[in-house]
Symmetry: C2
Subunit: 300 residues, 2 copies
């Protein structure tokens, strides 16, 4: 399959939803602009795309359309965007650039950036719970399960915990256990739940969900290892931030602990494990497999 | 009724739930401690208490117990606590003291305080969606409605929007419209939804919900007007922060715009309107009425 065309097409779908989203403008206008600034700052929409792809891989109802679950997929992008705004703050990673643009607090100030993040996180749960409005019929218990799983993955037992450990580990000597904790929680948890959510909304079997979970955990870890590699080897213009910024901030990274070659090997192993975990899935899981392969090639 | 005894008893119930809550500790430990520090910093638990009281005023099922909805009530306290942590940050109100104790970022640093707030907000949605675990049976559609309403009231169209306007209005000339926007969104929205949530979980009628909503809006506004008055007239040791801190921060407040006497009159009018909105409710709404009366007497 043409994975680039697929990703482009799916990104267009998600972007169209996000662009029409705040039709009832948020007051005050500055908050509105601050939230939209980061939401439309050129994200790859990988988490929503994974959610849609997992849904397609599992759904049996022939009348089901991916349009039905776009609000749920988009909620994952709201959460991802909020996490980037807060991570970039001076009290956290103190980044001036994100995807080649000034970070949110550089444009709107720290207070407004904190509130924009708070607003996006809360809006995600509105999107997830607003299933009466989109005119489709998913089971309430599946929706509640998705909300619960996303709250766990995004919260203190997941992404927020990973970010806290990351914050505490700057300047610390790298160690394998801490690095694994940070990667698993900060990045892999939200990616895994993105995949699982698609499966749960498609009413997949426990066996399928177990395969999706292994897939998600493996690509989630691979995603972070590749991010770390790109920070060492990527082109500043392509990655959208200065190369070597992890090193400069004394971040604990995979290349720092294991070296660049071992890191590349590890990324390949993880991607292979992800693909293997889908071996009982049929051709409807082809996009999930192709996304995993594509991760090894990504430059930004 | 003895409202002080009632409030004490209800606070004890909520506190017991909150204290046993993080039995699976959050990692890293510093994040755990930072979240618990503010959760246990002496809040009055007024939002959860309102939720329980509205539930009791409306519930018809004689086997229903308020214990059934404590997790939902507690979620409102998680959201309130997160909002205080973020409001106190240097980039926002820059407060050193809250309820007589150093603010979260003074103890744990700004980055950890931001994350503790993020963690509490996210955990609230876990609590709200985790209805399979507590062994009771509320309708899934009522639970989803409560999640949706809380997300609206707490988010950019509610509390976060109010805080953003508050931030933008420091140093600005006071005007009635802006002040009303700030009070309605920053404080009254979450208080109103606390009351509504109790009603919705009790499967109340639309007519009852409309009464509860008017009650919530009026006590929500009264609560903020009284807060503004206490900042001018309260005792530092009782209000837990230096008197006059709104004035010092050039906050737009009710007494600043209308004077202290007019503000006291307005608080009384609002409390009366709240009580009047419950006139068709029977004696089960007595706690709601007594809470409204009590607000006029509060000193902190």
């Amino acid at each position: 399959m043409d994975i680039r065309a697929y990703l482009r097409e799916r990104k267009t779908l998600i972007d169209a939803f996000l662009e029409s989203y705040f039709s009832a403008p948020v007051n005050p206008k500055t908050l509105h602009n601050s939230m939209l600034y980061s939401l439309h700052a050129g994200g790859k929409r990988i988490r929503p795309i994974l959610c849609l792809a997992a849904y397609e891989a599992c759904v049996k109802d022939s009348t089901a359309k991916i349009e039905d679950i776009i609000p749920y997929a988009a909620a994952l992008e709201f959460i991802h965007t909020y996490s980037l705004i807060h991570d970039d703050l001076p009290a956290m990673d103190n980044d001036d650039l994100r995807r080649g643009k000034p970070t949110n607090h550089k444009v709107f100030g720290e207070g407004m950036a904190i509130l924009a993040g708070d607003g996006l996180l809360t809006e995600a749960f509105y999107l997830l719970s607003n299933n009466t409005q989109y005119g489709y019929h998913l089971s309430h218990s599946a929706v509640l399960r998705v909300i619960r799983e996303i709250a766990i993955a995004a919260g203190a037992h997941g992404m927020v915990g990973g970010q806290a450990q990351d914050l505490l580990s700057e300047d610390a000597e790298p160690d394998a256990e801490t690095l694994s904790f940070i990667h698993t929680h900060k990045t892999a948890a939200l990616i895994t739940v993105s995949v699982r959510s698609g499966g749960i909304l498609a009413d997949c079997s426990d066996y399928e969900l177990s395969g999706l979970t292994k897939y998600g955990e493996n690509i989630g870890l691979a995603f972070q290892v590749i991010d770390d590699i790109l920070d060492v080897e990527g082109e500043t213009e392509v990655i959208g931030k200065p190369r070597g910024s992890d090193e400069k901030k004394k971040k604990m990274t995979y290349p720092k602990l294991y070296g660049i070659e071992k890191s590349k090997e590890r990324a390949k192993e993880l991607i292979n494990a992800a693909i293997n975990s889908l071996e009982t899935f049929d051709e409807k899981a082809e996009p999930l497999r192709a996304i995993a392969m594509y991760m090894l090639e990504r430059k930004s």
